[in-house]
């Protein structure tokens, strides 16, 4: 799968509830951030976890979040970075 986002793009993490395995931490669901890096495409861990081969491969991004966006209170000079797969991200205009 081709990367939809490039560094600098504003994105929002899906506010999705899942009962199965995923690598998107709960505290980032629904939060707005900015793409910092594109790592490439990797087998989807949500499929690998159930003995499947993980296709289509999902582009993986490093996304940065402002502290206040995540925790609701300001903290100067602090950003949070996390690795998020593309199917968990939507464009945030």
């Amino acid at each position: 799968m081709r990367p939809r986002f490039t560094p600098g793009d504003k994105v929002r993490v899906h506010a999705q509830e899942v009962a199965t395995h995923c690598r998107t931490p709960y505290y980032l669901r629904g939060k707005r951030g900015v793409v910092a890096r594109v790592f490439g495409a990797f087998p989807n861990p949500e499929q690998l976890a159930y003995h499947k081969i993980g296709v289509p491969y999902q582009p993986l991004y490093q996304v940065t979040f402002e502290y206040a966006e995540v925790w609701g209170r300001p903290q100067r000079h602090t950003v949070i970075t996390a690795d998020i797969y593309q199917h968990w991200l939507e464009s945030d205009h």
Partner: protein, 104 residues
Amino acid sequence: MTRGVHDLGGLPAGPVDLSEHDRTFFDQRVDAMMRLLAHPEHGHYTVDAMRRAIEALPRDDYFGLTYYERWVRAIRQLAIEKGLIGEDELKRKLAALAASGGKT
């Protein structure tokens, strides 16, 4: 709310235990088994499956077991899932091991 038992980011956690500790022989054996079974080329399942099995532990087990005890539970479940060993066979071997006083 479906928040996994393992997904603790942002929850109150109390003080963090920063003391150093060594891996026990048990820990090392479990680590070795996991690395063989989840080997990228020669293994039988992925580290993602390990994570999934650990995350699915009941809350009391998740917080009551040690780190490598969680791994053993996951290894056991996945070995059965993948048909590497049967539930009955495993029980027989465990019973034999207990009867022999733990000597293999």
